[in-house]
Symmetry: C2
Subunit: 377 residues, 2 copies
C-alpha cells in the first residue's frame, strides 16, 4: 500500500470545527482506496500554539509539516493575539510558507453551485460564469524583502519595506500559472498583473513573465493588466479575467481577496500553497512527482461564531479536494468530492440538497454538510 | 476684482473634448461673478507634449502650473506612448504631482444621481447609498522610494522598489482626511487602511494615523482595516466604508479604482490632488487660504472613442466643482454645478433631464451635457 502522511493543523476559532468535517472526508477516501492509505496526524499551530508554547510554529509542528506529503490547515488568529501582540499567529503562517518554500498560492473563485448566484454582491448578469484562478507568488516581494521599522536607525522617523523580485522567482511562479492553465481543456488564458508603469519590480515581473510564457508556453493566450485596472475589472466585468490571474505577493493578497467575495461567502472557497508546479499525473503513473503543499479554506478563524457548530466547512472540504489532486495525484476522489459538494449546495429543484449554513442564510450545521458529503461519496 | 489663474491641461484622447465642456462652465462662473475673475490659460501636457517637445511636462507648462491657483486636466496617454516607450505621458503626471507637492489625492465614489443605480455592477441593495471619499497619499510610498531596475548592479538579476513613509508624511495626509471628514455635518468616520500585519511602513502608518487622529481630532470616529480585507468590503458591503478612506499611495491607487466602478461609469467621477488640507473658508473670508491643486476626471484618455464627441464630460465638470470649492474657496458655485449635474442625470420621472452619454448606454453627446449644465446654471 502507498502511504501518504498528512499533517493536520486545526488552528483557532472555527478552524477545528471545519477541519473535523474535512478529516472525515479524508478518512472516507482512505478507507475506500485499495492501494492508498492516508495517515493523518494533528499538530498545534497558530494562537493555540502561542498559548501552549509561546510560539505559533513550534519545531515539532514544523518538522511534521516538512515530513508530510501534504498539510491541511483550518484557520488561525483571533482577538486574543491581535495586531499589538508581540507574538502573532500569522507570523507562524508566514514562517511556515517560507520554511517549506510554498511559493505558489492557488485560489479559485467560482460558483461551486449555480444555486449560489443570488448570494453574490454582484448582479447575476455580472457574476454568472465567473471562473477565476488566482496564482499568487507567496514567499517574495514586500512580504519578505528587507525592511526597517519606525524608531530603528538610521532615519528613525521613517519605516520602509522592499518589494523585491529576482528573475528565477518570477520564472518559477509563471511556470506554475502556465501548468494550471494547461491542465484545463482548452487551456485557460493567463492574465499577468503588475504595476509596470511605476514599479521596477513590476517591470521585471512583466518582462520575465512575458518571456517565460512566450518561449516555454507559446500555445497560451496571455495579456497584462495594471493592478489598479485589474481591481476595477474584478468588480465591473470579472469574466474578462476568467482563466488564470498571475501576480506577485502583495497584489495577489489584495486581488484574491477581492475576487473571493464574488461567490457570495468566503466560507465556500479553498486554497492551495505549493512548493512547485502542481502534479498533473496520477499517483499510479511512473511520472508522478509529489508536490508538497499546504491547503486551507480562505476564511478566517471567525471567533464570533466559534464553538457553535455553524461554520461553513465547504471551503475546507474543497481544500481536501485540491490536496488530493495537487499533492497526492488522486484526481478521481478529488473530483468526486467536488461533485458531492455541488450536489449538497445545488437547490432541490435542480436535483440537489439545497443545504445552507448560516453564512448563506441557512440553518444547516457544520456537521450536516459533512454528513451529506460523506453520504453522497 | 479678485483674479484666479487657472492652468488648463487638456491632454490626449478625449481629454480636450471633456475639458472643452468644463472650461465653458468655468467661463459661466467667471461671467456670473461680480467680484471674481477666472483667467484660463491652456498648456500642452502628456502625449501631445511628447510629440511636440519630446517630454510630457515642459518647463513652460510646469512654470504655468506653479504660478496658477488651480489646474484643470483632461486625460493623458494612449497606445502611441505605451509601456515600452522610453518617454511616457504618466511620467509627466508623476513629476507634476511631485514638483507641486500634491500629496493629497481626493476621490469621491458616490452616485451623482439615484437614477444611475441600475448601472452599477453591484446589486442595487449593495450599491444604494454608497458614499466613499478616498484620500490617497500621492507623493510617497513605493511610487517615489529608491528603486533598482533589472540589469543594474549590484544583483543584476533582481529589481526592487522601496515602500517608505516618514512620520510627517503620514501626519499631513491624516490631517487632510480629518479636515475632509470634519467638513461634513455630522463629521464622517475615517477608515484607515494598511497592511500592518506584514509591512513596517504600514505599522508606521497605523501608529501615526492613530496618534494624529486621537490627539488632534478626538471627535472623529476612526477604524482600521487591512488592505486585503478592505478590498473585499468594497465589493461585498461598501457602505461599511462610507465616509473617508485614508490610505497610502499604492493601496490608494488600487482601492480608489476599485471603488470607482461602483457608480457604474468611470466617466462620472472627479478627483482633486492638493498641496495641503482643502480650504473650507469662502474666498471672501479673511481666513481663506488658497490650496493649490490639480483637478481631473478619473477616467483615461479613451483613444477608442476620441474625436467623436461622445465622451462623458460629467467627471470633468464635477472636477471643476471640486476646484472651485477646494482651491478657490467658491463653495456656492461648486454646489450649483453639482446640483445642475444631478438634474441633468436624474431621470425625467423624478424631475430631471435623463441625459445619458454612450458609457451609460445613451445617445447624448459630450456637448449636449455641457449645454444642459450651462442652461441650468
Ligand atoms: C495573515 C496574512 C499575513 C496573510 C497574508 O497577507 O498573506 C493572509 O491575508 C493571507 O492572504 O493568507
Ligand atoms: C498613470 C499612473 C501612474 C497613475 C498612478 O498610478 O498614480 C494613475 O493610475 C492614477 O491613479 O492617477
Amino acid at each position: 500500500k502507498k502511504i501518504f502522511q498528512i499533517a493536520i493543523l486545526p488552528g483557532d476559532g472555527i478552524g477545528p470545527e471545519v477541519v473535523a468535517e474535512a478529516t472525515r472526508i479524508l478518512e472516507v477516501v482512505s478507507a475506500a482506496s485499495t492501494d492508498v492509505e492516508l495517515k493523518l496526524e494533528t499538530y498545534d499551530f497558530g494562537g493555540c500554539a502561542i498559548d501552549k508554547y509561546g510560539a505559533p510554529l513550534t519545531d515539532e509542528t514544523l518538522k511534521a509539516c516538512q515530513g508530510a506529503d501534504a498539510i491541511l490547515m483550518g484557520a488561525i488568529g483571533g482577538p486574543k493575539w491581535g495586531v499589538n501582540s508581540k507574538v502573532r499567529p500569522e507570523q507562524g503562517l508566514l514562517a511556515l510558507r517560507k520554511a517549506l518554500g510554498l511559493y505558489a498560492n492557488i485560489r479559485p473563485a467560482n460558483f461551486a453551485s449555480d444555486s449560489l448566484l443570488a448570494h453574490s454582491p454582484l448582479k447575476a448578469s455580472v457574476a454568472q460564469g465567473v471562473d477565476i484562478i488566482v496564482i499568487r507568488e507567496l514567499i517574495g516581494g514586500a512580504y519578505f524583502g528587507a525592511r526597517k521599522e519606525l524608531g530603528a536607525s538610521p532615519d528613525e522617523d521613517a519605516a520602509w519595506d522592499t518589494m523585491i523580485y529576482s528573475v528565477p522567482e518570477v520564472q518559477r511562479i509563471t511556470r506554475v500559472a502556465a501548468q494550471v492553465a494547461l491542465a484545463a481543456n482548452p487551456p485557460l488564458p493567463v492574465h499577468s498583473i503588475d504595476k509596470a508603469n511605476v514599479l521596477a519590480s513590476s517591470r521585471l515581473w512583466r518582462k520575465v513573465a512575458t518571456e517565460t510564457l512566450q518561449s516555454e508556453f507559446p500555445q497560451l493566450k496571455v495579456d497584462h493588466h495594471l493592478v489598479d485596472s485589474a481591481s476595477m475589472l474584478i468588480v465591473s466585468n470579472p469574466k474578462k479575467l476568467n482563466g488564470v490571474i498571475l501576480t506577485e505577493n502583495l497584489f495577489g493578497d489584495i486581488l484574491s481577496d477581492e475576487s473571493s467575495v464574488i461567490p457570495g461567502s468566503l466560507g465556500l472557497l479553498p486554497s492551495a500553497s505549493l512548493a512547485g508546479a502542481p502534479s498533473v499525473a496520477d499517483y499510479t503513473s511512473p511520472s508522478f512527482k509529489p508536490t508538497p503543499g499546504l491547503y486551507e479554506p480562505i476564511h478566517g478563524s471567525a471567533p464570533d461564531i466559534a464553538g457553535r457548530g455553524i461554520a461553513n466547512p465547504v471551503g475546507t472540504i474543497l481544500s481536501v479536494a485540491m490536496l488530493l489532486r495537487y499533492s497526492l495525484g488522486m484526481g478521481k476522489p478529488a473530483q468526486a468530492i467536488e461533485q458531492a459538494v455541488r450536489k449538497v449546495l445545488d437547490d432541490k429543484d435542480i436535483g440537489g440538497e439545497g443545504l445552507r449554513t448560516a453564512d448563506l442564510g441557512g440553518a444547516s450545521k457544520t456537521k450536516d454538510i459533512g454528513d451529506k458529503v460523506v453520504e453522497i461519496l
